[in-house]
């Protein structure tokens, strides 16, 4: 059970990473080729420097887990144009960015990714492309890349990245996941790429949520699953068997979309006050509004924490709440059914609390917010759980 912090486009976040790891709020980091450069630039240290620093500050024998995500899944998206940092990495030996046009090009790119990861001394995490369906050309290409990665490095981690139409593909998704499973990697790095930027992630497609959870469930029966860019949805991912969840301080780290890789995109960054009792994060204004109406209830929903008053407190509270929520589910039992029973209790409590909060009449705590933070997650989870018989 661990929490990894994704990096993001905001410069100067090494100190935040360092602080979070030192405080035990996170267990490691995922560096992304779009956001962490190969060579240091002002306010943006190099990947090698970040890794050295994070490892250097760790107590003896407790080296943080650090991954380098080549983010080929983002580089090959239409509309991606945030190349300044990405371009510093020698990811395309043929010097044609996103060239995966034949087996040789795929092999060259995979080799380049692994070479970089070896040079950084991090685990080998295979590249992939974003799948839009479970039986289309992108999915086939992703399978070919995975097979090539496994051929080159049998102990690598494989990446799966898909948008909602991929995760909602039902039996076709299951067949596809079966083919991936045959490759028997050391573990899985699973990215639910959101169709829209923003936080919380859009959860209106229950079938997509169910497919994402079902896939984690299938893969976790064999290997470790890292639920990347998952944030507070980690409570459901933990039921399905994910042992690691990815998050961060900015919206694009917590819920990833193609927008994060476009100039001017990435969503707005807001300081949220965690309300784990409602499975939600509120802006400071909304949090204060709820507190003013019913202080004791609001404090209970914040699990006793004060409303954070600065960015640092916001980060600390968020990671604390996330870790506690995630660990609580994981500790409910080793099986999905045990964890699901526990999460259902959490849902029941949150449902009642939401209705009470809405009844208080606070601004921006309405059925709309409940649907955004709670109902979508619960509906997707229940669809998954129903199919699993748990």
């Amino acid at each position: 059970m661990s929490v990894l912090l994704h990096d993001g486009r905001r410069a100067g976040h090494l100190s935040w990473l360092r602080e979070s790891l030192a405080a035990g709020l996170a267990d490691g980091a995922v560096l992304n080729a779009f956001f962490t450069p190969q060579v240091a630039v002002p306010r943006n240290p190099s990947a090698a420097d970040i890794i050295a620093e994070l490892r250097g500050q760790a107590p003896a024998g407790q080296s943080p887990e650090i991954l380098f995500d080549s983010a080929t899944w983002a580089a090959t998206l239409p509309g991606t144009d945030l190349w300044a940092t990405y371009g510093s990495w020698p990811l395309w030996p043929r010097r044609v960015r996103s060239d995966l046009s034949d087996a040789g090009a795929v092999a060259d790119h995979v080799r380049a990714v692994f070479d970089i990861q070896r040079s950084l001394g991090v685990p080998l995490l295979a590249p992939t492309v974003t799948a839009d369906t479970a039986a289309g050309t992108q999915a086939r290409l992703a399978l070919d890349i995975a097979a090539e990665a496994k051929r080159q490095e049998p102990d690598c981690l494989l990446t799966i990245c898909g948008i909602n139409t991929f995760w909602r593909a039902g039996p076709a998704l299951d067949r596809y996941v079966g083919q991936l499973a045959r490759l028997r990697p050391a573990g899985w790095y699973v990215i639910p790429l959101r169709d829209r930027a923003g936080y919380p992630a859009d959860m209106t497609d229950s079938n997509a949520t169910a497919g994402w959870l079902r896939t984690i469930h299938s893969l976790a029966l064999r290997n470790r699953v890292i639920a990347a860019h998952t944030d507070h949805l980690g409570v459901a991912a933990a039921v399905a068997g994910a042992s690691t969840v990815g998050t961060g301080w900015d919206q694009a780290q917590r819920a990833c979309s193609g927008d994060a890789f476009r100039d001017g995109g990435g969503g707005t960054n807001v300081n949220y006050s965690p309300h784990p009792g409602l499975l939600a994060r509120f802006t400071e204004t909304v949090a204060r509004g709820l507190r003013d109406l019913q202080p004791a209830f609001a404090e209970a929903m914040r699990w006793g924490e004060p409303i954070p008053t600065d960015m640092r407190a916001h980060r600390v509270q968020h990671f604390q709440a996330l870790r506690e929520q995630f660990d609580t589910i994981c500790n409910a039992g080793p099986t999905p059914s045990a964890r699901a029973a526990f999460l259902r209790n959490v849902f029941t409590g949150a449902d009642i609390a939401w209705d009470y909060a809405i009844g208080l009449g606070a601004a921006d705590i309405t059925a709309v917010e409940k649907a955004t933070w709670f109902d979508g997650l619960r509906a997707g989870f229940e669809l998954y759980a129903l199919a699993e018989g748990i």
Binding site: D174, R175, V177, G178, L221
Partner: protein
Amino acid sequence: MVEFYELVAAQIGVTDLAPLRPSGQKRVFLARRGSEQVVLKAVEILPPHQATVLERANREVGLLSRVAAKSDRRIVAVRSGLALVGDPATPTAVGWLEEYLDGNDLTDLLVSPWAQADALDLLSGLAEALKYLHDEEVVHRDLSPGNVRKRGDGLWTLLDPGLARHLSELSITGLYQPGTPGFRSPEQVPGGEPQPYSDIFGAGILVYLALTGHYPIDPRGAEDDYAKRLVEQQAPPVKTFRPDLDDDFAAVIDRCLSRQPARRYLDADELLDALRALGGSPATSLPRGTAP
């Protein structure tokens, strides 16, 4: 009028043809070549599928020759090359010889629910045989009772990998190969792509049927409905029908029949590991039970 299989028999040099159970598009005969009893398989090649039938026959004989030789009698052996009737470029029939197996087809043994030990013996035997195919990256794709035989000495042997496909070879186009109704995997619906774990599902069906008398996924009714059930329904746990089974053995069977392929044993090697973990060493050293 001379039948096509008689022409094949003459071409290949066998006599005394006695019909056996047909297998797919093939006519199958017990035959004699000198003093040896053999099985003749003959296929008439009709338009428009000449190329497909010829390729399939070539593939079946090629596969059998390659795999059977090292399978320790778990895959039926080939006793001849491919014999073509007519112009070799556009033959009208094709045939080959296989070893004659004594014993019984699994079909004949599925008369009443089996004891657990016998079912374990069957599953172990199937896994041992499939291992030789899967090690070669070959998928059998038609594990039906008519393609499984228990030899007189109790050894389970696989027949007729006529639908088998080497995973690195392109699939034949123009002729859909769904396998036998009742014995298909979820990957054997249109759009699916059978893999070694599809054979694991097939092995699970056979053992489930032997133990319970029920198909795990009901094949009755329209093809489309059956296909839908295959991809959407999870088979009832085998203990639904056989609560007397050991939990661990039942769990192995249920896992073979997982709707999601990633949750099954991915190939025969994994299944064999699971069977070993049950406490016995599969197949080769298991006491062979006597099927009912």
